[in-house]
Symmetry: C2
Amino acid sequence: MAERKPRKDAARNRKAVLEAADALFARAERPEDLTMADIAAAAGVGKGTLFRAFGDRAGLLRALYEARLEPVREAAEAGPPPLGPATSPQERVPALLDAILCFKLDNRRLALALEESGSNSLYQAEHYERWHGLLRSMLEQIPGLDDAAFTAHALLAATRADLVERLADQEGTPRERLRDQLAGFATRVVSSDPATSRHD
Amino acid sequence: MAERKPRKDAARNRKAVLEAADALFARAERPEDLTMADIAAAAGVGKGTLFRAFGDRAGLLRALYEARLEPVREAAEAGPPPLGPATSPQERVPALLDAILCFKLDNRRLALALEESGSNSLYQAEHYERWHGLLRSMLEQIPGLDDAAFTAHALLAATRADLVERLADQEGTPRERLRDQLAGFATRVVSSDPATSRHD
DNA sequence: CGTCGAACCGGACCCAGGGTCCGTATTCTA
DNA sequence: TAGAATACGGACCCTGGGTCCGGTTCGACG
């Protein structure tokens, strides 16, 4: 049952690939034309090795992404306020979205490459389920807000990598402004008074 | 300066391609593996013709999409309430998003193909600019809502084709429920009482 | 340390699919 | 109806993801 440990060279190569890819994505301005062969070459490894270790392009991207995301995940699941659990949903929802936004700003190319890779690879990535579940559970605690599941999706959609890139890179919106806007939006969603919402 | 009119056969072929592609996308369950050669064959035309008429894959997708979208556009810009101009922003914003959602539900494959095609082709499609501009101008009329531009992006993000597909096809959410949820979300955003929004 | 099998390496190779080219056919103009 | 302009179409090119397999490295064991 227990996976027997990989050979030393395999482990070394895996790490080399991860590091090389990380560096390449950080530098690349067009992540989609960063080829697998490029990555293999940069890591000093054959293409075969790369595919054996990660399955396919999406697999590599996912591995990279999850690795980078790890700290954020921990902070969100067990860290200090306002991100951690000891916070009211009204504050924690914007805080979580802010954390995700910052992450995507800091890892633009990678996030972009991941979300663009193949058919809706975003929605079947584990981290998406994680964020969605977490967000939904927060939203469920907010009185007068039904459809927590949908709302969670909608809020997460506002942090899509390509949107972030458009706003930050193409339109040049400064980081802090973007953060404020998203926080404002989230707060609005989370704190709207249902009595005001008359429409039909 | 004036574009001289295209030759008769060119026009006929263009139409043939459009129709064939339309039919194919409607039937296909995996829009991404519907190849250009397939479309050309179905239209009874050579690949060259297809590329000459539309430039590239994204161009064809855009043309198809815009054509289908035309009625919605008209309804939104000059139709009767609640979609048309003679409606208060509080009602019209949800109505517009609903129209977009319905459109994407009815043209799932096509929308998916378009949004997946190449680097952020969604955000440089004309219709995106149109919706965004329209939405923004509505939101600007709502007191207490700043960042109309960002809010418009965020709301539109909730209608992303891949999200719609996940909810409708993969999770099986019924159409009407989805519409209700989106409308509820939009209404919430649009009608939240700013006095309630304390966060710092 | 020597040996042997398993695990791994890497780059040559395969193939689909987007996009191009150019000799031929069609349409338009006069 | 001739000649130029335009369009046709499918053979062809090329990139890039993914596979394969002969050769190498690892490490367990004697």
